[in-house]
């Protein structure tokens, strides 16, 4: 667990818990977590694999600019894990290539 509970400057309030699904498995997150934060807390840092060389990719800029952290969320590909808040019951999956809905021949 990588969650910060105590901090010398920041007041870190306790937040409610929720369950989402990561590659089909139930996983716990806190209310208000981004998908990237929830996965990072659980030690998961590979969010997708590239289209041609199947290289692992994960978080890079964390502010929605670089789009390196995109995942398949509730069946929709290319969702930025760093700026999308996780919700109860949300289905989050590792994105392989361009995502299942995309034209793989691109």
């Amino acid at each position: 667990m990588r969650r910060i509970t105590q901090h010398p400057i920041l007041d870190i309030p306790e937040r409610g818990r929720l369950t989402f699904f990561y590659n089909g498995q139930p996983m716990e997150a806190r209310e208000g977590d981004t998908i990237a934060a929830a996965l990072t807390d659980q030690g998961i840092r590979v969010f997708r694999e590239t289209h041609k060389r199947h290289e692992p990719r994960g978080l890079f800029c964390a502010v929605g600019q670089c789009t390196d952290c995109i995942m398949v969320v509730n069946g929709r590909p290319n969702v930025r894990a760093c700026v999308t808040r996780v919700e109860a019951g949300m289905r989050v999956e590792t994105q392989r290539g361009l995502g299942e809905n995309a034209d793989e021949n691109i």
């Binding site: 990588r2 920041l10 934060a37 807390d41 840092r45 590979v46 692992p56 890079f60 502010v63 929605g64």
Partner: protein
């Protein structure tokens, strides 16, 4: 189509400053931001700011952010979040979209405060999960309250690299080393002192050669460079780390300004490509102003005051402030900005800004 006196793009310190000043003067203001929270990067700044009382010295970034949001509410600024401005047309029409809808609106004045993007570095392994920007590490620990890893190497000893290193320690991470390609630390001595006292080695004349790991970052290969930044063979060293933070400067987010048709320029010390602008933040496009990191990379305090200056300029042009009122307000803000551009670090920015202003006036005087 809804019409506003002023549309501000970007709700960081510059955009908030602009929206507050024009709103306070009585302008109807729309402040749009693509993020789901306002404040830009202010809320992840947990260190105390420097300078005088006028520059919020001794106040932490997130507290300044809170004060600005209250000021914006008092100035009746309409803030639209999760709203991305993607188009600006010659007649002042602005196209924006949210997750669910696309809409258009029109602004008599447009103030662009789109901020900056962190620069990356090219080296083998730079795409491995675990290699992130320093800002990303800061976002994770200070806003998301999750550590991106357990042991970090930081590349770059500018203020961002130094401050983020210290904040990673505060979050409970180890910082194995800070690498700096230059022969000396490039950030403020006070920040460097803090990380050194905490036991973090700052390795000058060092750079990253490679990031290694099977599926994620496991180790970083570093090496020494000479005065011309050439690798010194035989100095390679391996540092175990699961996080590599890149902190090698920022580039203005100039896309919307270029889309507007603003004449662009290049200035290395201010971050590279940026829109040509005047002392009062006018661009070569009538009714389009810029402020903050978009008009040259500086600090949050400077961005805020540049935004305020742009807001005053727009309010005066709209006839909401008398010439005397706006002149006094502009003098006051400009003297604060001038104070921020003093000293060994500030002077370079001041000189660079003067070059941009002078090129702006040349361009305008030359009748295109």
């Amino acid at each position: 189509m809804k019409t506003y006196d002023v549309i501000v793009v970007g709700a960081g310190p510059a955009g908030l400053g602009a929206a507050i000043e024009s709103g306070k003067a009585g302008a109807s203001v729309l402040l749009a931001d693509e993020n789901d929270q306002p404040g830009g990067q202010l809320f992840k700044q947990i260190h105390k700011f420097f300078g005088s009382h006028d520059h919020y010295a001794g106040t932490r970034g997130f507290q300044i952010g809170q004060q600005l949001l209250e000021e914006a509410a008092r100035a009746h600024v309409e803030i639209r979040l999760s709203t991305r401005v993607w188009g600006i047309f010659e007649d002042g029409t602005v196209s924006a979209c949210t997750e669910d809808e696309s809409f258009r609106c029109r602004g008599t004045w447009l103030i662009l405060a789109t901020g900056a993007t962190e620069n990356s570095l090219v080296f083998p392994g730079n795409t491995l999960p675990g290699v992130i920007t320093a800002g990303a590490a800061q976002t994770m620990v200070n806003l998301r309250h999750v550590r991106p890893g357990s042991r970090a190497v930081v590349v770059g000893s500018g203020n961002v690299g130094l401050i983020v290193s210290y904040q990673l320690l505060q979050a409970g991470m180890d910082v194995a080393a800070i690498l700096e390609a230059a022969p000396q630390v490039t950030g403020y001595a006070v920040h460097a002192g803090k990380v050194r006292r905490a036991g973090v080695p700052v390795l000058c004349s060092h750079t990253v050669l490679e990031a290694r790991g099977e599926r994620e970052l496991e180790e970083v290969v570093v090496a020494q460079v000479d005065g011309q930044f050439r690798l010194i063979p035989g100095t390679e060293e391996v540092i175990q780390a699961d996080t590599l933070c890149i902190s090698v400067g920022l580039t203005p987010r100039w896309e919307l300004a270029a889309l507007c048709g603003c004449k662009m320029d290049f200035c290395g010390p201010l971050g590279g490509r940026l829109p040509l602008h005047s002392e009062t933040l006018e661009t070569t496009c009538p009714h389009v102003l810029v402020a903050g990191d978009l008009s040259g990379i500086e600090e949050a305090s400077t961005a805020l005051d540049e935004g305020r200056l742009a807001g005053v300029h727009a309010a005066a042009a709209l006839g909401l402030l008398s010439t005397a009122e706006s002149a006094e307000r502009e003098r006051e803000i400009q003297s604060r900005i001038a104070a921020l551009r003093q000293g060994a670090f500030g002077r370079k920015r001041q000189t660079s800004k003067e070059q941009i202003w002078s090129r702006y006036h040349q361009h305008q005087g030359g009748g295109l």
